[in-house]
């Protein structure tokens, strides 16, 4: 394995190991997902509203708000004992650090997004049928774009006096394209429409994720360097 990949993997491994031991973020995100599913279940009058019509929007909103709980704390464990400064003083390139943090966040958020899908499928009685795989794929693309932006801006916000409260203000406006394409795609897939009908939207989600990753990899250095 190249040194670059070794460095990326070392940070991913460390982040996931810390999360497994502390369960700090996954517990918060998971609990939020389940509770949101329960509350939304009671907030919709199914005699007047088809659950399939609103489920996608609620799934994505749960994902965005729940994701912020976890992504916002990306650098808090790092801040203890100045550990992140130790990482920054190592020869690991800053883009490798960014990609590693994003990958670890993605693993957590993707797990939560699958939980969200399960919870909403249960409460809303969704029958995803043959589109289940595509919905899972679309949520993966959305999660990737979200964590790429979230990780970058979590690094920005952690260095400010406002801290985590600044994160939604910075990230939400940039998430608008992802939410539009994500909700549109998921709604149609839940409704049983064929994949080729949403192929363009999926490409846009993929492009958004790639653009967010590329921008984060380039800009992260300027955010974290003194």
């Amino acid at each position: 394995m190249s040194t670059y990949l070794t460095q990326v993997w070392a940070i991913v491994w460390k982040d996931l190991l810390l999360e497994i031991r502390s369960r700090e973020r996954i517990a918060a995100m998971g609990a939020f997902a389940v509770l949101a599913g329960v509350l939304f279940n009671f907030s919709i009058d199914t005699t007047t509203t088809r659950p399939e019509n609103v489920a996608a929007g609620l799934i994505w909103m749960t994902l965005v708000f729940g994701g912020l709980l976890g992504v916002g704390r990306t650098f808090h464990l790092e801040a203890q004992d100045g550990a992140f400064q130790g990482v920054l003083m190592s020869p690991a390139p800053k883009d490798a650090v960014f990609l590693a943090k994003t990958t670890a966040n993605f693993a957590l958020l993707y797990a939560v997004s699958l939980l969200v899908l399960g919870v909403f499928s249960l409460f809303f009685g969704l029958d995803l049928g043959q589109n289940l795989g595509w919905v899972v794929f679309v949520l993966g693309l959305g999660s990737l774009g979200f964590v790429a932006l979230g990780t970058l801006f979590a690094a920005v916000s952690v260095g400010t006096s406002m801290g985590e409260t600044l994160l939604p203000v910075l990230v939400f406006p940039l998430l608008v394209p992802m939410v539009i394409y994500g909700v549109g795609t998921t709604t149609r897939l839940i409704d049983g429409r064929p994949f080729n009908e949403v192929e363009g939207n999926v490409r846009m989600l993929g492009a958004f994720a790639l653009a967010a990753l590329a921008a984060g990899a380039v800009l992260f250095r300027f955010v974290v360097e003194d």
């Binding site: 040194t3 070794t6 460095q7 993997w9 070392a10 940070i11 491994w13 460390k14 190991l17 810390l18 031991r21 502390s22 464990l77 203890q80 004992d81 100045g82 550990a83 400064q85 130790g86 990482v87 920054l88 003083m89 190592s90 020869p91 690991a92 390139p93 250095r221 360097e225 003194d226």
Partner: protein, 262 residues
Amino acid sequence: MTVGMSAAADILGVDGADHLDLDRSGGAVLQARGLCREYGTVIAVDGIDLSMAEGEFLTIFGPNGAGKSTLLGMLAGAMRPTAGSVSVRGQALSSSDTDWRHRIGMLSHKGFLYGRLTVEENLRFYGKLFGLTDLDERIPARLEQVGLTRRIRFEARQLSHGMRQRLSLARALLHDPDVVLLDEPYTGLDPSAASVLRNVLDELKDGRRTVVMVTHNLREGLEMATRVAVQVAGRFAWEGDNTGLGRQDFERHYHDVVEGLP
């Protein structure tokens, strides 16, 4: 040089100068030129020149707020100077090329440790970031050096302050750096832990490492140093070779230097 500083140099019988640039740049391992760092209107480091050869051990004393930690931060490449430059073995500390990071090890106020990782996991993690491939041999050797072999499976948060400090030192030395920067390593250590640390620092004086240590501990600082500097208000107010400086004399004249400046 101020009158106070001249007097100190005369009485101590050492070669004092008001900046640390004794024309040793020929074989310089660590070199700084006109190093400045400002925080808004506050000047933390004000035009420091430094040139250190292989095997030299510089101890920097100075009152709180003199800019010592900021200076170390810049020498470590953790902070960008407002003006001036730093190089290690002739290679400028730039952000684009990170080779120089292999040559620097730093022990800071903060340990750079992950509390929920074990002693071994912390070292293994940093070892991989430094691209080290012989960690199975290197980690036990470093832990033995700092006396933590029996704690290898302990999480860092379970260690006492002294043990964490030793683990931080093992982390800083893991990649066998040419330049070792130590920021108040004795802070908060009991005599026993200080003794262990002193032994490890003694081993650093192997003639091939360049060490810069910031400390308030006059006894430890003088014992280790081949060169001594006093930093006040962002500048080296006094410096000299350590040719048997007595602690009491130095302490008296340290106060002369510090109080003699505006």
